[in-house]
Subunit: 168 residues, 2 copies
């Protein structure tokens, strides 16, 4: 489409040209493929998909989280999550405990087998990210995280921030 460069004469804003933005867009596309490639390979062998990975990841991250909370983080319908969750529970990777304070709620935990899968997946994914981080150095990593955070929807940034503080 029309390259109506956003710089409009200002030399310091050359990184905002349509061309630079398009490179960023394509970088996101190709990088996300690499980002999910290793876990995907592991999951296929076990008969799971990316949806199972996401559920396992965030249950591991926030043990005892409720289904509703998980729905908000994952951004899918309860029916869709329920299907994934059901198989994980049937296969003994996730345990669902009825809440004590509010017995309507189900609190989700990984079993030992679930933690083993989570570890296998996250190790593979971390390895790739570690290699990338190491290759480019800490300053680039800071920039990477800053751009990603700025690109999130506000409600997702809320979840991200909550998880960040929990981790630190």
């Amino acid at each position: 489409m029309a390259e109506t460069g956003g710089a409009s004469g200002n030399e310091t804003l050359l990184f905002l040209t349509d061309d630079q933005l398009r490179k960023g867009i394509e970088a996101m596309f190709f990088a996300y493929r690499g980002f999910t490639a290793d876990p995907d390979r592991i999951l296929i062998d076990k008969g799971y998909g990316r949806a199972h990975h996401r559920a396992v990841h965030f249950i591991n991250r926030s043990p005892g989280t409720t289904v509703n909370n998980l729905l908000a983080i994952l951004g899918v319908t309860k029916q869709s999550l329920n299907r994934v969750l059901r198989t994980l529970i049937e296969d003994g990777l996730v345990e669902s405990r009825i809440g004590t304070r509010d017995k309507r709620e189900r609190h989700l935990f990984l079993t030992d087998a679930g933690q083993a899968l989570e570890s296998e997946l996250s190790t593979a994914q971390r390895n790739r990210m570690r290699a990338a981080f190491r290759q480019v150095g800490p300053e680039a990593v800071v920039g990477f995280r800053q751009v990603l955070e700025a690109m999130m929807d506000t409600d997702m940034r809320r979840h991200y921030a909550r998880l960040r503080e929990a981790g630190e």
Copy 2:
């Protein structure tokens, strides 16, 4: 929480801790959602999906590209791409011309209507990325692109580089 880790020198490798890597992983997950959110909303109204967006994007990027080339870039099967391509051609967004040099090949072009859709989608996506880029500044953007490039699979990095030089 000191999020930059204070590791501006490479001697301390604090930016490579599992915790930092996990933050990068979650940032990718949440940011990719934001990255695709705006085009997704536009596409739903028109009865298309993300697959159509990808096809339209790369045809626009490399007018006259062949089906085989597109398959390599998108990393899907020809059956899957064909289904998407067929609807785009039927709807008059993409034109498929038999090759002159090699008559087995189909060269793909966007029609005016196709370019209009591409423009609408990429404008929405660029707007979000421009806002993010502007917010964090050029140095962060460099780091962002470096990390993403380092995270790609090698063959995808090849495609990315080829598109980059074409754009520049």
